[in-house]
Amino acid sequence: MPRKLPPKDVVIIGLGWTGSILGYELAKAGLDVVAIERGPWRDTATDFPPAYIQDELRYAVRLDLFLRPDQETLTFRNNVGEPALPIRSFVSFLPGNGVGGAGVHWNGQTWRFLPTDFRVRSQLEERYGKDALPADMTIQDWPVSYDELEPYYDRFEKLCGTSGKAGNIRGKKHAGGNPFEGWRSAEYPTPPLKQAYGPALFAEAARKTGHSPFPQPASNLSEAYVNPLGLKLGQCTYCGFCERFGCGNYSKASPQTCVLPALLRFPNFTAQTESEVTRINLDSTGKRATGVSYVDVSGEEWEQPASIVLVCAYALFNVRMLLLSGIGMPYDAQTGQGVVGRNYAYQTTSSVGVILKDKVLNPFIATGAHGMIIDDYNGDNFDHHGLGFVGGGYMGMGQPNSRPIQTRPVPAGTPKWGAQWKKATAETFNRAMSLSTHGSCYSYRDCFLDLDPTYKDRLGRPLMRMTFDFHDNELKMSAYLTDRLADIARALDPVEIATSPRKGPYTLNAYQTTHNTGGTVMGADPATSVLNRYCQSWDVHNVFVPGGASVFPQNHGYNPTDTVGALAYWTADAIKDRYLKNPGPLA
C-alpha cells in the first residue's frame, strides 16, 4: 500500500522548463506546489562546473546527463506491419533526465513558429486547394493564434535573455533580422552573438544568391543579463559545449539559470527528486484527478494528493503518463478514432558538407545556437505550387560545436582510420563547414504512440510504442531544401561538397533531433485533440499538459523550445486567471 502524503494544491510531474515555469507562476500566486522529478537534482557549480563539463567522452559520447534505457525506454517500429522492438540505446533522439530536463542539454535555438504555422491546414488549403494535401496527412490548425501567443513568446525570451536581431517589430521590418518572422512586440532581450568566420562566409554567399541571412536567435547569451525573476546570466564564452552538456558559465538559458534559484526561495514550493510518478489517480467518476502515485529512490510507494495535476515531463513521457492513467481515449490507427498518441511527429533534418580551399575557420569557436540562417524556404514562406510537397524549414550555417571526438570531417574517399585518415583530419578540420536544414514534419494517420502489448518497464508498466516513418511529402521537402542549400554552398567556391538529404525509412541509429512532438495534441475539437486551447484535458479538467511539445498538432520547421515556453506561460495564466476562480473546463 502506498503511503499517503498531505495534500498539495498542485503536483507537477517533471521539473524541466514547463515544470519550473508553472511551479514559479503558481507558487508566486500562493499555491502549495510540489514537483516530482524522476532524475537527480542538478546544479551549475556542482554538476556542470567549467573544470570538467567539457568532457566530450563522458557527456556527448556516453550521454551522462541523459535518460538511460533501463530507467525508461520505448519500443519502435516503422509501420504497423512490423514487430516493435525496445530501444536499448538512445541515438536518434536523446530524452533528458533530471532537474532541468531537456533545458539542460539543449543548444539554445530559440525560434518562434510562423503565424501561418498556427493555421497550417487552413493556409495550405486556401492557397493550394483541398486536394493538395495527402489524404492521410492529419495536420490541423492550432487552437491558438500567433497573435494570442506573441506576448507569451516575448515572456519566455525575456526569461531566457535570448540574443538575436528582430526582423519585424509590430509590423515594421528591420534590416538584419528575419524578414519572414511574425511580428514581435519588442527587440530581443540581448543583441545577437558575434558570428564566427564560417557563418559569416555563409551569410555572404546567401546574400550573393538573393537570400536574407540573419543571426540565429540564441539563448546562449551575447552579454550578461538579468531576467525578470532577478536572475543574472553571464556572457557566453563560445566554448562550444552546449548540446548534451550543462553550461558551467551561467550563460545558457536553462531552468537552472533562469528559474530555479528564484523558485526555490518560495517556502510553498518543494522539489521531490529521484522519484518517478507511476500514474495520475482519478476519482470514481474518472472526471477528476485526485493526485499522483510515485515511487521514490528506495522503491517506496507514495500517494501525493493534489487539486491540480500538471504533466510536465518530456513530450514522449507526457503521452505515456496519460495512457497509463487512462486519461483521454487512446488513439486507434485502424479506425482513426481516439486521441491520446495521435499525431506523433518529428523533425526532418538534412545537411550539406562543404570543404573550402584555403580558409582557416577555427570552428571550435562555437556556441549552441550561433550561426547565420535563412528562412526563405520555411513553412509557407515560398510558393509550393508544382513542388509536390508542403512544409519547409530554416537552413544555414550554425556552428554549435566542433568537438574533437565527434567532429572529424574528411574528404570523400578517405580511409576510416589509420595514417591517411589522421593526415586528412588535420588538413581538413579548419576548412570544413557543415551546413544544415531543419525542416517540418507533418502528422499522418499511421504515425502514432500507444502502449506496447509485450514489453514492460522496471515497474511492470507497459512501455510506450512508437510507430513512425518519414512520408514522401517530408522526403521531397528535404530533397528540395537540401538542393537550395547546396546552391548557396556552391557560391562559397568549395573544393568538395556532399549533400545528405533526409532519406527514408526513418532509422534510430544516427542522431537527428530530440524534437519528438504530438500525442497529447491541443485543439479546438475533442474528437481530434487531447487538450483544449488552454492545454487542459478535455476529459479530466484538473489535469493540464502545460506546453510540452506533446501538445503540438504537427511539427513545424523550427526548434520547439520557444513555443514550449510560450505555451507554459499561456497555460499558467489560464490557470491563475481563470481556472482558480472557477475550477472546471475552460473551453
Binding site: P49, P50, A51, Y52, G230, L233, G234, N249, P261
Partner: protein
C-alpha cells in the same frame, strides 16, 4: 556563551524584578523583532532543521565546542522564567542566571553597547516566539575551560562593559551606524582580530580575523586591505542584496546577509556604511610590491588561470557584477591571511540568495583538479596581477588547508 540555565529546572524564580516595560506592547515587540534582526540572534540560536531560537547549534571555537542555548520562552528549557534584569545582565555583562559566567561566543562584549531599552524590547519580542522544549547541553568545552568561573579572569582582561558613547564630532547617521556595528550587529565578533585568549585586539578593530575556517576580511576604510575602494553605495548594495560590483557574500557572511543585513531598514544600512567608510583608515600599511610577471609561480599561475578561471572571472580579472566576483583590486584576494582564498579554490562556495539578487551563483571546487603547487601558483598569480600586490602563497598553507577541510566536511 550561555543564556539559558537549562540545568536549573524548577528554580522558577520569578523574582519579579519589576517588569520595567509592558511585554505585551506591540510597539516594543515590533522593535524587538527588528532588534533580533540587527543582532542576528536566530542563526546561532537555531540548530540546522530545528525550531527558531530553540538553540542547539554547535559553534566551533578555538577552545572547543559550545552549543547555543534555547532562548524561546519555554519555562523549563528556555528563558521563560528569566526576569528582565537577568536578561539584561546576560547581554550587558555576560552573566547568566545566578551569576554564572557566559562564554564570549555569545557576543556580550558587543551587546553591552546596546541600550537597556533596546535589550528589553528584544526581550519583549523573544517572549512572543513559540516556546520550544529543547534541552541543550551548552558547555562542551574541555577542562579547565569548562569551568565557567574562568570567564571572570577572561572578562577582567578582555571585557569592557558599558553602553555606546556617542561621538559628538560625528553626524547622527555615523553614530547610529557605530551603535549598530559595535553593538547589536556585533560585526567585530568576526571581523576584529583576536588575542591568544580570544579577546578583541582593540587596537585594530575590524581589520580582519580568522575564525571557523574562514578569514573574515578587513572592513576598515583602508583601500588595499579593507573596503576603502568601495563607495558608500557599494557597501549598501552588498549589505542589502548580498552582491555589488566587486563581489558577492559567501561563507558565514552569506548567513549574516541572509538573516540580518538584507532585512535591515535602508536608513540603518546607510548608517552602517557611513560609519564603516569613516573609521579605521589610520591603519595604513606599507604598499607591497607585486611579483614580477616572469616569476616562475606567476607564469604557471597565469596558465592555470587561463585554463580554469578566466571563463568566469575573465582575462581582465574583472569578473561580472553580481555573478562572478572581481579579482582585480579585491581586498580579499590580497589579504594577508589567505584562508578564505584557499578554502574557496579547494572547496568552492555558494553566494547568498536574497530577494533582490536570487541567483546565488557558486564557485566550483578545484581540489580534485589542482594540486597544492598549482593552487599556490594560481593564487600567487591573482594576488599579483592587474595591479594587485600581495605576498606569494607557498605550498605549505595549501596543504594544511586541504588537510583541515578534509577533517571538517
Amino acid at each position: 556563551m550561555r543564556l539559558a540555565f537549562s540545568a536549573l529546572v524548577g528554580l522558577a524564580a520569578l523574582t519579579d524584578a519589576a517588569i520595567a516595560q509592558d511585554l505585551q506592547s506591540f510597539d516594543a515587540i515590533e522593535r524587538g523583532r527588528y532588534l533580533a534582526v540587527l543582532a542576528d540572534c536566530a542563526p546561532c540560536h537555531t540548530a540546522p532543521g530545528g525550531q527558531p531560537f530553540a538553540g542547539g547549534l554547535v559553534l566551533q571555537t578555538p577552545f572547543g565546542n559550545l552549543a547555543t542555548p534555547n532562548i524561546t520562552p519555554d519555562r523549563e528549557t528556555g528563558i521563560g522564567n528569566w526576569t528582565d534584569d537577568e536578561f539584561v545582565a546576560a547581554l550587558h555583562d555576560g552573566r547568566g542566571r545566578a551569576g554564572t559566567r557566559l562564554y564570549p561566543a555569545m557576543p556580550y562584549p558587543a551587546y553591552t553597547k546596546m541600550t537597556r531599552d533596546d535589550v528589553l524590547d528584544l526581550r519583549a519580542y523573544l517572549a512572543t516566539v513559540t516556546p520550544v522544549r529543547n534541552q541543550v547541553i551548552a558547555n562542551q568545552l574541555p577542562f579547565p575551560l569548562n569551568i565557567r568561573l574562568a570567564m571572570l579572569f577572561w572578562n577582567w582582561l578582555n571585557f569592557a562593559p558599558g553602553g555606546y558613547e556617542p561621538n559628538p564630532q560625528k553626524s547622527a547617521e555615523w553614530n547610529r551606524g557605530a551603535y549598530i556595528v559595535e553593538g547589536a550587529a556585533h560585526c567585530g565578533t568576526c571581523h576584529t582580530p583576536k588575542t591568544v585568549l580570544g579577546g578583541d585586539k582593540n587596537d585594530a578593530p575590524f581589520s580582519g580575523a580568522t575564525l571557523q575556517g574562514w578569514f573574515a576580511p578587513s572592513i576598515t576604510a583602508n583601500p588595499r586591505s579593507g573596503i576603502g575602494n568601495w563607495s558608500k553605495d557599494d557597501l549598501v548594495q552588498y549589505l542589502k542584496t548580498g552582491a555589488n560590483d566587486w563581489t558577492l557574500a559567501f561563507g558565514p557572511m552569506a548567513e549574516a546577509v541572509s538573516h540580518s543585513t538584507s532585512k535591515m531598514i535602508d536608513g540603518d544600512i546607510a548608517a552602517i556604511a557611513a560609519y564603516l567608510k569613516d573609521s579605521g583608515a589610520a591603519l595604513a600599511t606599507a604598499e607591497p610590491a607585486a611579483l614580477a610577471p616572469d616569476d616562475k609561480a606567476m607564469r604557471a599561475g597565469a596558465a592555470i588561470y587561463k585554463d580554469s578561471c578566466a571563463a568566469c572571472h575573465r582575462d581582465s580579472g574583472d569578473g561580472e557584477a553580481n555573478l562572478f566576483p572581481r579579482l582585480s583590486g579585491s581586498a580579499l584576494v590580497q589579504s594577508g591571511d589567505p584562508t578564505t582564498l584557499l578554502r574557496v579554490v579547494l572547496q568552492g562556495s555558494r553566494a547568498v540568495s536574497t530577494s533582490s539578487r536570487p541567483t546565488a551563483p557558486a564557485m566550483p571546487a578545484f581540489d580534485w583538479r589542482l594540486d597544492d603547487a598549482q593552487v599556490a601558483a594560481v593564487l600567487t598569480y591573482i594576488r599579483n596581477n592587474w595591479g594587485n600586490a600581495a605576498p606569494p602563497i607557498s605550498v605549505g598553507p595549501v596543504a594544511s588547508e586541504r588537510a583541515s577541510l578534509a577533517m571538517s566536511p
